[in-house]
């Protein structure tokens, strides 16, 4: 199996290298990368069968990079049910995005470069999820970050794109700083980077405390888990490190779908689920996770309502959904978080690609106020978009319904257990359901229904994009519709994650005896608020944007203060610009003008050089050229040696 796993990882990498470095034609570039990712996907399916149905999990070191002071730095794979699920999702979505890209990037001069990048991304993401140790995890973590940076700035002649990729890079640095500290702590206290060794050692350290500030004892597990989670906050865009994700929409739409919705941003969720044996030991850290997730889920949802850029609406929706997943982690429902991660990957990729399809048809117009009535022009996009939106709002029977309901259920359970912050989180995710439905269908109605607000020229050219664009939409619509119903029983109530994700028995919200089948769950849901909240969200959107389109404008006038807060995204960006960017520039300027120019250059470098030169000029005068001076110097030397070593 080792060779199979190696092939899964290396096939996309080889594709990326061929497409990127060998100056190949467009046709060759997309053929090799699609073939590479396709191989990875098919082999992942095979691995899925082996692991899930054959029970052959794999945990082995492939290569030892170096051994230093007994610490082994290795490359290895740990393939269990969590990993294979991620592998299948990543390679499948990536494959679809590759195909879609043929159509979307058709006229772009950077065609080969783009394929090279997204294949490279697939490699990095697979390295991340398949890792069996923290070092490789960190490698994958940084590598996906790098590709994300490259792709956000793909159109590097656009100032906004360069600004956005720099911003993503810097904000992720903050998260990575915490992550690295967390890994360092793991290494320090367990003396290993290997997952299995760390998890088996964790029993010995769970009651230890650390002193970071004088006279304060903190639980080691809490500090360690919060540091690791800060890494996840950066990568998975949780408040306050979320600011880069909306700007990342400057990148081409296919990567918004692949990287900034379906896969990379969920790396943080995956990581926390992987580390469940650590997180389960710290109630405090879980509460922290829970509250951060709840804030993200609710407040980022609000922002989706006021956005007019089609991609940004979906981006804020992604933020909000990532919040949901984080809430699930904080409620000890790692399985539900991963479940939602999977369903979300399909329907969010679908929505993004659908948005991309609309953008192509509209000749790169992204403002939803200039669309409308596209239903009759883009039937496939319309129907797949509808499936995606219904999945997103959690309409009964669709994929998102099962995962989102499970999360709400889990938070409810945590609330009953009395976990700190779970009360707030419960109401946040509940109101989030209404908000989600509102912004999703606001966009849906504004784009596909109502008056046709585009200009005549655009309208004249409106038609469904080619098959390479619509085929992935259809392929993604299928799991968006069905995957929840298929997967909920094994993933949440069954043995799928047995021995992979650890949940203390008391924390577990899902017990097999509570499972009454899919139909039972759907009928049962009508007795609970989430479904009604979702439906009312759709109804409100229908009323506001189709029946009475003048009303939103007057609401906006009425609550202009609220609206401007939302438009300014709560001021995070302004604060960062002023405090962090401005502060860093100020400190940098100070250090440069005073520290570098005056102290280092002035005193230390030039000062010492001048001192040496001065001494040299004086010393050379000792060499008078007079013989008796020389002889005298020798006698003095002799006398000194005699004085010091004989007399003293």
């Amino acid at each position: 199996m080792q060779n199979v796993y190696l092939a899964i990882v290396l096939a996309p990498l080889i594709g990326a290298i061929i497409a990127g470095l060998f100056g190949v034609s467009r046709r060759v570039a997309h053929t090799v990368t699609i073939a590479g990712v396709g191989i990875a996907f098919l082999l992942s399916l095979f691995a899925f069968k082996e692991v899930v149905f054959g029970g052959h999990t794999f945990n082995q070191t492939i290569y030892t990079w170096l051994v230093s002071s007994g610490i082994r730095f290795e490359i290895g794979f740990m393939v269990d049910s969590l990993t294979v699920m991620m592998m299948v999702v990543v390679t499948f979505v990536s494959w679809m995005v590759h195909i879609y890209t043929i159509g979307y990037m058709h006229d772009d001069p950077g065609y080969q470069r783009f394929f090279s990048y997204i294949s490279l991304f697939t490699f990095a993401m697979l390295m991340l999820v398949m890792s069996n140790n923290f070092l490789q995890l960190f490698f994958g973590w940084e590598a996906v970050g790098l590709v994300s940076y490259l792709l956000i700035g793909f159109w590097f002649t656009k100032d906004t794109a360069v600004y956005a990729n720099l911003k993503a890079f810097l904000v992720n640095r903050v998260g990575d700083f915490g992550f690295l500290l967390g890994i360092a702590m793991v290494l320090m206290y367990t003396n290993s980077l290997n997952y299995s060794e760390v998890f088996s050692h964790v029993e010995h350290i769970k009651d230890m405390t650390v002193q970071i500030l004088p006279n304060t004892e903190w639980s080691l597990m809490t500090v360690m888990c919060i540091l690791l989670f800060i890494g996840a906050m950066g990568k998975s865009a949780q408040v306050p490190l979320h600011v880069w994700l909306p700007d990342s929409m400057e990148g081409p739409t296919p990567i918004s779908a692949l990287i900034h919705a379906a896969t990379m941003v969920t790396a943080g969720i995956f990581m926390v689920a992987r580390m469940s044996p650590l997180f389960e030991l710290s109630e405090t850290a879980l509460s922290f996770v829970l509250v951060i997730g709840a804030i993200t889920a609710l407040f980022m949802g609000f922002l989706g309502i006021v956005q007019n850029d089609i991609k940004r609406v979906v981006a804020y929706s992604t933020l909000s959904q990532l919040g949901y997943m984080t809430v699930a982690l904080g409620a000890s429902a790692y399985t539900a978080g991963i479940f939602h991660l999977m369903t979300h990957a399909f329907f969010k990729a679908l929505l993004f690609l659908g948005a991309g399809s609309v953008i192509i048809a509209m000749h790169h117009e992204q403002d939803i106020r200039k669309m409308g009535g596209l239903r009759k022009y883009l039937p496939i996009t319309y129907w797949t978009g509808l499936i995606g939106s219904l999945a997103l709002i959690g309409f009964p029977g669709f994929a998102g319904f099962f995962s989102k309901d499970a999360i709400i259920e889990a938070v409810h359970h945590a609330h009953e257990l009395g976990r700190a912050g779970s009360g707030f989180a419960y109401y946040a995710v509940l109101s989030g359901v209404f908000i989600t439905a509102l912004y999703s269908f606001r966009m849906f109605f504004l784009v596909f229904h109502g008056k046709e607000r585009m200009d005549e020229h655009t309208k004249h050219h409106l038609h469904e994009p080619p098959a390479v664009v619509t085929f992935p939409l259809i392929m993604l619509a299928i799991p968006s519709l069905l995957i929840g119903a298929f997967a909920i029983e094994p993933m949440l109530f069954g043995d799928f994650f047995k021995n992979v994700i650890f949940i203390e028995h008391a924390h577990n919200a899902f017990h097999a005896e509570h499972w009454h089948g899919i139909v039972g769950m759907i009928t049962d849901s009508f007795a609970h608020p989430p479904v009604w909240l979702a439906l009312s969200g759709v109804a409100v959107a229908y009323y506001l944007y189709l029946i009475n389109p003048a009303l939103p404008e007057s609401i906006k006038q009425r609550f202009s203060a609220v609206h401007s807060i939302l438009m300014n995204k709560y001021g995070f960006d302004q604060f960062n610009e002023w405090f962090f960017a401005g502060g860093a520039r100020g400190v940098g300027g100070l250090l440069w003008k005073f520290g570098d120019v005056k102290v280092i250059d002035g005193v230390m470098v030039n000062g010492s050089a001048q001192a040496v030169h001065g001494v040299a000029l004086i010393m050379r005068h000792v060499q008078t050229g007079l013989l008796y001076h020389y002889a005298f110097a020798m006698i003095i030397g002799l006398a000194l040696l005699l004085g010091v070593f004989v007399i003293l």
Binding site: A616, M619, Y630, A631, A633, M634, G637, L638, L641, F645
Partner: protein, 478 residues
């Protein structure tokens, strides 16, 4: 006194060298001016022959001969080989220069060979007397060589200074030897060592003697404060003679130091260690600082020599076998670099032009990029840049210092090396970034060009595989 045939076998290289030097002297007298090259060829043949004898007699263990006056051991044999090789190279470098100035006479070669003989005797000496004998033979030859260009006032002045100060130092050395002899009653170094070991009453007198001996050694090495002759002699002597003084005699001085302080007075190492520390640190400080202020490259290299001497003494003061090996390695490396450095000056010189100013190196790269590159290697190696040989020499000494616990001295040494890097890098800057002032093409004999290239490249390639030479040094110490 009886001498066996084996005694003569052990001393064969020296006997051969002496015989040949006399022969060259006589032959040269009868040679017409047009056949002067024969003297040169005979001299080179002599050096090759001597080296072959040394190889043939290469000892596996120390052998004493001539009533314990003479010792043949691996350290000695190795140093002798390097001495012969370096004098050989020096003769190659010198020929063109001497010819251009009408100095290509038998005296240079005969005196050079006799100086070589003096060095070999010093290296193999096993009593105070033989050491002194070899030292005087070397010194007297050198005094005469410095004054080779007797019409030059500068050369004569330098020779005079060298002679007077040398006599003073020689007297001090002799005085120290006589005190040690007075206390121990022995001339044989092994016997001296045993007597010192057994003696517990005359420590002060012994240390008194050691001070004088260290002063004598310090003068020979050119260590501060006994260094004053070095810049003046380096500058005043004809460049080929400077080349000779700055290179091979340092190997002989190293051997003398080993014989006197280690073979003879190992038990007093606690006392001479301190003296060596003083000389080393002062040499590194003065050498590196004053070199910065020089505009004459021969003077600059003189101060550079002083600083290198300080550095190599650091290896000795550890008083461990590995430390001595590091110092020996450093000395050999230094002589190779010094040989190359003066070689380049000789290369740039021509009739009526000395090339001894720093400014003469301006834009060398534009004039001749290959020899600018050779000079680049030499300067970087002297500055101690990895991966060149000079770096490994410094590294060997420093690691021994640190192993022996002299951390602060090691730090001081590194700091002065950093300061020293300045004046080496300045040459590189002049060669590569300045406009040439002199546009005459380089006219050097082919043999010299080849030898100098080999010299420079050896420093590069030996630097890539430094372990070999270092191991040889270590094993030669037994």
């Amino acid at each position: 006194m009886t001498l066996a045939v084996t005694d003569f076998a052990v001393v064969m290289p020296e006997i051969f060298l002496l015989t040949m030097a006399c022969l060259v002297l006589v032959i040269d007298v009868y040679l017409p001016e047009t056949m002067r090259n024969l003297t040169y060829q005979l001299s080179q043949g002599t050096l090759i022959g001597t080296a072959l004898f040394i190889v043939a007699m290469y000892p596996t263990k120390p052998v004493l001969a001539m009533n314990n006056m003479f010792v043949s051991d691996q350290m000695g044999a190795l140093l002798k080989l390097f001495i012969c090789g370096i004098v050989f190279m020096a003769f190659i470098y010198s020929r063109g220069y001497l010819r251009d100035r009408n100095l290509l006479k038998g005296e240079f070669f005969v005196l050079g060979l006799l100086a070589t003989l003096g060095m070999l005797v010093m290296v193999s000496a096993h009593t105070f007397l033989t050491i002194y004998l070899g030292l005087e033979l070397l010194s007297l030859s050198m005094y005469a060589l410095v004054a080779l260009n007797r019409d030059s006032a500068q050369s004569s002045e330098a020779a005079m200074k060298y002679f007077v100060l040398g006599a003073l130092a020689s007297g001090m050395l002799l005085y120290g030897i006589s005190i040690i002899y007075g206390v121990t009653g022995q001339m044989d170094l092994a016997a001296v060592a045993n007597a010192i070991k057994a003696d517990h009453e005359h420590h002060t007198a012994l240390v008194f003697g050691v001070v004088f001996i260290v002063v004598g050694l310090g003068f020979k090495f050119g260590a501060v404060p006994f260094h004053m002759w070095v810049p003046d002699v380096y500058q005043g002597a004809p460049t080929p003679v400077t080349l000779l003084i700055s290179s091979a005699p340092k190997l002989a001085a190293f051997a003398m130091l080993m014989r006197l302080l280690v073979d003879g007075m190992q038990h007093l190492h606690a006392d001479w260690q301190g003296m060596i520390i003083v000389l080393s640190v002062l040499s590194m400080a003065i050498g590196n600082l004053v070199a910065i202020a020089q505009s004459n490259i021969k003077r600059m290299l003189a101060y550079s020599t002083i600083s290198h001497v300080g550095f190599l003494m650091l290896g000795i003061l550890t008083a461990t076998k590995t430390g001595y090996a590091a110092a020996m390695f450093y000395t050999i490396v230094y002589t190779l670099m010094s040989l190359g450095g003066f070689g380049v000056i000789l290369l740039l010189s021509r009739a009526g032009f000395e090339a001894d100013k720093l400014d003469d190196f301006k834009g060398l790269n534009a004039r001749n990029s290959w020899f600018a590159f050779i000079m680049l290697i030499l300067m970087l190696s002297m500055a101690g840049m990895p991966p060149l040989l000079g770096f490994w020499a410094k590294w060997a000494v420093l690691s021994e210092l640190i192993n022996s616990g002299f951390m602060w001295i090691a730090i001081t040494a590194v700091m002065f090396s950093v300061i020293g890097a300045y004046y080496y890098l300045r040459i590189i800057k002049l060669m590569y970034f300045d406009k040439p002032e002199d546009t005459n093409p380089l006219t050097a004999d082919n043999d010299m060009q080849v030898a100098l290239s080999v010299n420079g490249l050896a420093i590069l390639f030996l630097g890539l595989v430094p372990q070999g030479l270092l191991t040889v040094c270590l094993t030669s110490l037994g």
